[in-house]
């Protein structure tokens, strides 16, 4: 019973089709249009013989097709019915559920909103005693991070004065890496930072996305202060209301202590971490501080862990096909029916 309880059919329509099949079979038997199953056509009869009494043979053959007692017709019908049952069972494609398949990866889509203002040129990171600019750190970490992602789609939005979509949500990691490599600060989008506008643009882009899953937004910036026309905090709050979670990552140092002695004509601006933390809180996320390349990587990993969510999906199982058994039974049945005739032939 347990075996039958676990039985499923891929195409149960064929089981219903058995009824009309049997009906047609019955009509054919009734019209004497079917020979008994033991008289299946000769597969290898290549030789055709002659017989002088061809007229007599014709009568015999015609008589054999029409005549025959009723019991014989029933037996013929039953033989074919059993064969049809087996064939229909096989066509219905029965299967049993086997091992459960592993769940799909538990990642979400992520949209990185990357600040490419001129501030990214500031060299306030120290790697192996050498000053490294913020952009280099950001690129290397992003590249490494993208390379480690699996089953996750990533989109890149860059902004400074104006935002634009660098890469829409995609799983093409090679493309993503190449685009990240080509990032240059203050080239395409202007020098200064308009964070509120960027967040609004992000929201606009994400609302076009019709996927049921809401991507996590990761804002990576070294913002010190934003324009006053749109308050990023309000936009973050609105994003959160829309069901998004905004994580923020602060890049750069928080004080003037990290300022380079040779400023190369750039005005040093430390990152305003308090401001970023406020945005993260309003956006329903957390603020991570990236003091060095290691901690930035830790921050992004932490976001990834925090945002990990199981996909709501029914458990999937390996289907073990069983159609071969009814098929085999049908073949065996034909063989069995032919067996007595074959024995007679040997004698």
């Amino acid at each position: 019973m347990e075996f039958f309880a676990g039985l499923h059919f891929l195409r149960p329509g064929w089981l219903w089709a058995l009824l009309p099949s049997l009906l047609v079979l019955g009509l054919l038997v009734r019209a004497n249009r079917l020979r008994a199953l033991a008289w299946l056509p000769v597969l290898h009869a290549t030789q055709v013989f002659r017989h002088p009494r061809i007229g007599l043979l014709r009568r015999i053959e015609a008589g054999g097709l029409r005549g025959g007692p009723r019991r014989d017709a029933y037996r013929r019908w039953a033989g074919y019915a059993l064969l049809l049952l087996c064939l229909h069972l096989a066509l219905a494609h029965p299967y049993r559920l086997g091992k459960q398949l592993p769940q799909p990866p538990e990642y979400r889509d992520a949209v990185f909103v990357i600040d490419t203002s001129v501030n990214m040129l500031l060299r306030d990171y120290l790697v192996a005693g050498e000053r490294v600019d913020r952009m280099t750190i950001l690129k290397s970490v992003l590249t490494h991070f993208i390379g480690k992602l699996e089953g996750n789609r990533i989109g890149l939005i860059v902004f400074s004065e104006t935002p634009y979509t660098l890469v829409p949500l995609t799983a093409d990691y090679d493309l993503l890496k190449s685009m990240v490599r080509r990032l240059e600060p203050a080239v395409l989008t202007g020098r200064s930072t308009d964070l509120g506008k960027a967040l609004l643009y992000t929201l606009q882009q994400l609302q076009q996305n019709e996927a049921p899953q809401k991507p996590v937004i990761v804002l990576i910036t070294d913002v010190n202060r934003s324009y006053r026309d749109v308050d990023p905090r309000s936009v973050a709050a609105y994003l959160h209301e829309q069901g998004f979670r905004l994580q923020t990552v602060g890049i750069g140092a928080s004080s003037y202590a990290a300022q380079e002695t040779d400023s190369r004509g750039l005005l040093y601006q430390p990152a305003n971490f308090g401001f970023l933390q406020a945005i993260a809180e309003r956006g329903g996320g957390r603020f991570y501080r990236a003091d060095s390349a290691g901690s930035l990587q830790g921050a992004i990993a932490a976001i990834q862990t925090a945002e990990r969510r199981k996909l709501q999906q029914a458990p999937r199982h390996v289907a073990i096909p069983l159609y071969q058994w009814p098929l085999l039974a049908g073949l065996l049945w034909i063989a069995l029916v032919q067996l007595p005739a074959g024995r007679r032939q040997r004698r």
Binding site: Q47, I54, L57, A341, R347
Partner: protein
Amino acid sequence: MIFPAVSGALARFFGQWTADVLPGAGQPLLDDAELRELAARTQSLPWFFLDFQQDACHPLIGETLSVYRGRGLEFEDNRAYQPGDEPRLLNWRLYARSGELYTKVFTEERRPQVVVLADRRAAMRFGTRRQLKATLVARIGACYAYQARQQALAVGGLILNQAAEWLAPASGDASLDALVRTLAAPCPPLGFDQDQPQLEQGLRLVMHRLPAGCLVVLISDFADLDPQTARPILRHLSESNTVQAIQVLDPVERQLPAGGDFLIEDPASERPLRMDGRDAAQQARYAENFRSRQADLDACFRACGIPFRTCLTTDDLEACLGQPDGLTTGD
């Protein structure tokens, strides 16, 4: 409509072509050595199978007494004179004794002719064991011809091939040779659907061409003989002649071969007939049909007073020639 016609024509063309290239199809059924052996064998047979049941009405004047009254050597009777009688036949001695006119009646002596009606049509060009049916027909016909020659009887024949071939009865080695060669001529297979003379046509031909008083030997399988329509012809033939009927069959005609499926060529349709040798019921039906057919034939011949016997291609020649019971040959 065109396609079946074209394919049929092609099949007929290639069928004939393949028939020609069949090994042995161009050879005569019986070669010279076999014919010589057959002649010697016929001479040494201890019994006489040219059995004239009605030695009544042989047309030629000869040594054998006939029941014809007429000019002959053998005196039979005196009968009262009737006006118009030949005056030379008046029995003057009896007139002297009795004073009444009597005419002498003689019995004519006549010599019979032997005519062999041999069937060599498509259905006879068939054989599963030992020899073709046509070969056995040739052997039997040749035996009759040799024995007729032995007794200096005129011998002729009607050979049914694709057309009927009439060999007028004549005495002498030439006519004998012609008959025997025609009987033993090469016999390539013919399609069953080809036009060929019916057996009844042959019987009518014999009936019309033969004078009364001959020995007619019918050698065929009589497969296409309808007992109902043929009965008047046979009766007519047997009333004025001595007729013998010899049926030549192959064993598979009597009983379908057992075991396996067979596809059998059906000239009437594209699809061959399928016979199941394992189907006992089908075999029985065939045997039953065949038996009833044989019974009909037998009844028909008996009603016409024609001795009818059946021989198989596997039988010995002596048995086919109607060896009397209790008589055995040397071999």
